[in-house]
């Protein structure tokens, strides 16, 4: 029983690992009118487009000075070659040396400074050339790095501001805004940042002005101030943060939240009313959407719905404002309307639109699946669609909404071959994580059976639009559901139903599962109280070469059927043997057994009896109790030992003692394990001479003796 102590040590480490786990969140911000591109991405994209225009089909997909220099040479463009040569040196100097592996030496730092001075002079000399905008930018960049901010102020105001519009001029203006800040001209700088959508800089500037008062002043200064969309979005998100904090299960959001009170919420709605009646704003849809969202967050759902329906039809000069109103309408209406055919039809249209927006917002070579629209779907599914459709008795649709949410990113990453390379390395099957899996794993089997039937219905012209949309966005994987159902039935000890589903699962599928390393190396027929089936840490991960030749779950279900068949009619001695064999298997397949993989998909020391499983340990205990008197004293000793092993409820608990700075051990005299250990001790006292080694070596038993002073 030394294994008891080993388990408790493992428990301690596992608890700590769990402490580090951060639960997923679904309370994403819904109000989004800035972007989608931030300033830096926009600059990168426009520069890349310029270079592509220059280099044509030979253009690499990212800035590569060497390639462009070769192209410029090929064109005989000496000025461009010269510019690129100096730009490369500048970029090397400016590259944040503090965050590269090659930390600069003192000499390199001095050399870099001299190089910047030289490039600055070179750029200044080229201001009359064909590439004057590029060289002017280079000049200002060098000044910035050399902290010559005053030179940049003068240069922009006297020269560069008159240049033609281009990404280079915009970049110069951004540098100029930085120089304004350095010289204390903050308001001028902030307007430039707002116009350019440089949100990072805006956060810094408006950090303490993100209030109703601050927004009112900004509006009064300029009803169409470039900073207003940023400020309204920030206010809406802070208000949402305050609302979400009051709801259960939400995760606290961003840092530096300005908590919006109910009073501020009302004041902002009044300000929005005033703005809308002033007719000075070019973006009434923006203010109306804000008002609708604030109403919603104040639980004025009906007024929220009315306002957002109006906002969708109002005008705006900002393209994202109309999309924002539509996302908010989708969410608010989903939270308000009953789950009926009218909502189904609305959802079918709007969810398709949302999917399209998510695709459009994601650039073709994007590494990440997530964006504002996928996150909006996340919130919509978890907070509106799943609970509301479940409450309306439409659990198939609720499950399918979750399925789309969970599977779409997996499909995306597989297509991108991003996760695939990781899978090759770890052979990790992601199907057994995520909300869709957890939901299916915990709901009653009848609901999963219904869902399986629902998804297997053919889609015809008669099928509803919502069902068609769901079918086109979810993977139809009956094998996954059969395997899951088979496992759920194993947990319920309903062997026949388990067999029916597990027979539908090919071995090739089993070999893709994360439980394979355990299934391949463990057996459910080993006596768990006598032998622990340990697997080295490094062998617990799925690997390419590891396969099983039989689905142990199916084998187990069939064997249990066979063992239980005619059990009651067996002769006492045979029944004792049979009971012992069954007890071994029940214990092994329980959450505490080595063959846990028969009834679940992962193992944690925090595992306890689930609501949707029979108490296999209790069954094992009953079986062992039946078997105790069906053999000689060695047999009886083994049965008693086995019962004492079962971790049904512990023989002691611990209570913190602040005086001793340690735990007190509280004996649980009425617990199953206490009684079982006591029975074992009573037995060994009677048979002291012939106590088996596995009993006398048992450290838990010794601990028990010490505490009970036997």
């Amino acid at each position: 029983m030394k294994r008891f102590i080993v388990i408790s040590l493992l428990a301690l480490s596992a608890v700590n690992v769990f402490g580090c786990a951060i639960p997923g969140t679904h309370n994403y911000y819904l109000f989004s009118v800035c972007g989608p591109e931030d300033w830096q991405s926009s600059v990168d994209r426009r520069c890349t487009e310029n270079w592509k225009a220059y280099a044509g089909s030979k253009a690499p997909s990212w800035f590569d000075a060497e390639t462009y220099t070769a192209i410029a040479r090929g064109k005989g463009d000496a000025l461009m070659v010269s510019y690129l040569t100096h730009l490369s040196v500048y970029l090397e100097c400016a590259h944040d040396a503090r965050n590269t592996w090659d930390y600069p030496t003192k000499e390199q730092l001095a050399e870099r400074r001299q190089q910047l001075i030289d490039i600055r002079q070179y750029a200044l000399d080229q201001l009359q050339s064909r590439l004057r905008s590029q060289h002017a930018l280079l000049y200002m960049r060098c000044n910035m790095m050399l902290e010559q901010h005053h030179d940049n102020l003068v240069f922009w105001e006297q020269t560069a501001k008159n240049y033609i519009n281009s990404v280079y001029r915009d970049m110069m203006r951004n540098i100029y805004a930085g120089a304004l800040l350095k010289s204390g001209r903050n308001e001028e700088a902030s307007q430039i940042y707002a116009e350019q959508g440089d949100q990072q800089s805006l956060y810094t500037y408006y950090y303490r002005k993100r209030t109703v008062q601050g927004i009112r002043e900004e509006y009064e200064r300029n009803p169409n101030s470039a900073a207003l969309p940023f400020l309204l979005q920030d206010f809406a998100n802070n208000a949402q943060e305050a609302y979400d904090e009051q709801q259960d299960g939400n995760w606290p959001g961003k840092m530096f939240v300005h908590t919006v009170t109910a009073m501020e919420n009302r004041q902002m709605c009044m300000l929005a009313d005033r703005v809308l009646s002033d007719h000075k704003t070019l973006n009434p849809a923006l203010w109306m959407s804000l008002k609708a969202w604030l109403y919603y967050l104040s639980n004025n759902r009906l007024m929220a719905l009315q306002a957002i329906e109006r906002a969708v039809d109002l005008k705006s000069t900002l393209p994202r404002v109309a999309d924002n109103a539509r996302v908010l309408r989708l969410y608010i209406r989903s939270m308000q309307s009953p789950a009926n055919p009218a909502l189904d039809q609305f959802l079918a249209n709007e969810l398709e639109w949302l999917s399209t927006k998510a695709r459009e917002e994601r650039s073709a070579d994007s590494y990440f699946y997530d964006n504002h629209y996928t996150r909006a779907y996340d919130r919509l599914v978890h907070q509106a669609l799943v609970p509301r459709y479940t409450a309306a008795g439409r659990s198939n649709e609720a499950i399918a909404f979750l399925g789309v949410y969970d599977e779409q990113p997996k499909v995306y990453y597989q297509a991108q071959r991003k996760l695939q390379s990781r899978n090759d390395e770890y052979r990790w099957n992601n199907d057994y994580s995520g909300d869709f899996f957890y939901h299916l794993d915990t709901i009653p089997t009848a609901q999963v059976e219904q869902y399986l039937a629902y998804m297997q219905q053919p889609v015809t012209t008669e099928t509803s639009a919502l069902r068609r949309w769901l079918s086109s966005h979810i993977r139809h994987d009956a094998t996954f559901l059969h395997e899951l159902l088979g496992t759920k039935y194993l947990r319920l000890a309903q062997w026949q139903q388990a067999v029916a589903h597990l027979e539908e699962v090919p071995l090739s599928y089993i070999n893709t599962m994360n439980i394979v390393p355990f299934m391949a190396r463990r057996s459910y027929s080993v006596e768990p109280w006598l032998q622990r089936q340990r697997i080295k840490e490094e062998d617990q991960m799925p690997s390419a070469g590891l396969r099983v030749n039989e689905n142990q779950k199916l084998q187990f279900a069939r064997e249990m059927m066979q063992l239980e068949q005619g059990y009651d009619d067996l002769a006492p001695a045979t029944r004792g043997q049979r009971a012992y064999q069954l007890a071994i298997r029940y214990t092994q397949a329980s959450y505490a057994g080595d063959a846990w993989y028969l009834t679940r998909y992962g193992k944690s020391i925090m595992d306890t009896l689930r609501a949707d499983e029979v108490n296999m340990l209790a069954r094992a205990s009953e079986l062992l109790a039946t078997a105790v008197d069906q053999g000689d004293s060695k047999w009886k000793e083994k049965m008693l030992f086995a019962r004492a092993f079962l971790p049904i409820d512990s023989w002691y608990s611990e209570e913190w003692n602040n005086q001793r700075v340690d735990n007190d051990t509280i004996l649980q005299r009425s617990s199953h394990q206490y009684k079982a250990l006591q029975q074992l001790i009573d037995f060994t006292h009677k048979n002291n001479a012939s106590t088996s080694e596995y009993v006398s070596r048992c450290d838990v038993l010794r601990q028990f003796i010490r505490h009970t002073q036997h």
């Binding site: 040590l9 493992l10 301690l12 480490s13 608890v15 700590n16 690992v17 769990f18 402490g19 580090c20 786990a21 951060i22 639960p23 503090r98 965050n99 590269t100 592996w101 090659d102 930390y103 600069p104 030496t105 003192k106 730092l109 305050a242 904090e245 009051q246 939400n250 606290p252 939240v257 908590t259 590494y367 991108q416 991003k418 840490e537 490094e538 913190w656 700075v661 340690d662 735990n663 006398s696 010794r702 003796i705 010490r706």
Partner: protein, 301 residues
């Protein structure tokens, strides 16, 4: 059965004694602080603290190593948040460059990582005129799953550091005590961030335990201390942690009484832990949190 128990206990004691004797002694002593900011600049309060409490070493975070997207969707370990030295080191104080490595870096084994880190540290010392550097410390919240990779990595760092005459230490979190010891010269046992920050009492909405330090989280690990096969120093918290949870402003404060209870308990298990004592971390706000006498109590050998 009592005889069996006694003889087993005797054997265990003998084994413990043997393992303690085999373990090399901790050859670093004194008082130290962690410095965990991105700009190295000490104000008068901080300088006074170092001077008045006779602090001999500063374990200074030089940079973090994080996985960064590179070309074609791959992730590579890169330095991040490198410290800028804007101030000189007080006379007589030794600097221990400390590098925090994100745990996921260990999922992407990189044979050049160890030498890159050591070379970078050496260069940072040279560029910033930092002398008297005899040691490197690596901080990583490794788990049982990536322990083997992390230990391989530490072996490489240790070999590289030896080229420059430097020793290697690493931080040890409580949960890591249940694993075999890492291949370093000594470990610093982190007696802070011991709890689960997500553990709330759902009825009161309050934190069930102080996640910075709560003895109920420390006690389960005490039995590992005596036989942990590595010389150990101890690090205690002085910091606070503020956050907004479920609408409530929560401030976790390292409690002096709890620190002392912890110090007493760990030193009782392993007296070596009073030899080198660190405080996490040097900051004007933190300094003012305890009295000078309280700091002396924490540092008491």
């Amino acid at each position: 059965m009592k005889k069996v128990v006694l003889s087993l206990l005797g054997t265990l004691l003998l084994l413990c004694a043997c393992s303690q004797q085999d373990r090399p002694p901790l050859d670093v002593t004194g008082r130290a602080v962690y410095y965990w900011r991105t700009i190295f600049a000490l104000d008068s309060t901080e300088r006074h603290f170092l001077n008045s409490h006779h602090v001999e070493r500063i374990y200074c975070r030089y940079f973090d190593v994080v996985l960064t997207p590179a070309d074609k969707g791959t992730l590579i370990p890169m330095p991040n948040a490198t410290i800028q030295f804007r101030d000189s080191l007080p006379e007589g104080i030794e600097l221990v460059p400390t590098v925090f490595i994100m745990n996921d870096c260990m999922q992407h084994p990189d044979d050049s990582l160890a030498s890159r880190i050591v070379r970078r540290i050496v260069q940072m010392n040279e560029t910033n005129d930092l002398q008297r550097v005899h040691e490197i410390q690596i901080d990583c919240d490794y788990t049982a799953r990536n322990r083997a990779l992390y230990y391989d990595f530490l072996q490489q760092v240790r070999a590289e550091a030896r080229h420059y005459g430097m020793n290697l230490s690493t931080t040890i979190r409580l949960h890591q005590l249940s694993m075999p010891a890492p291949p370093v010269d000594y470990g610093v046992l982190m007696l802070y961030n011991t709890g689960d920050p997500n553990r709330f009492d759902h009825q009161t909405g309050l934190m069930a335990r102080n996640p910075i330090l709560d003895m109920r989280d420390v006690v389960p690990y005490l039995p590992h201390l005596a036989n942990y096969d590595l010389p150990l120093a101890a690090a205690y918290p002085t910091f606070t942690w503020q956050r907004n949870v479920h609408g409530a402003h929560i401030e976790h404060v390292a409690d002096f009484e709890e620190v002392m209870r912890c110090k007493q308990a760990v030193e009782q298990e392993r007296s070596e832990l009073r030899q080198l004592i660190l405080i996490y971390h040097l900051d004007k706000e933190n300094i003012n949190r305890y009295t000078s006498n309280q700091y002396e109590e924490i540092y008491r050998h």
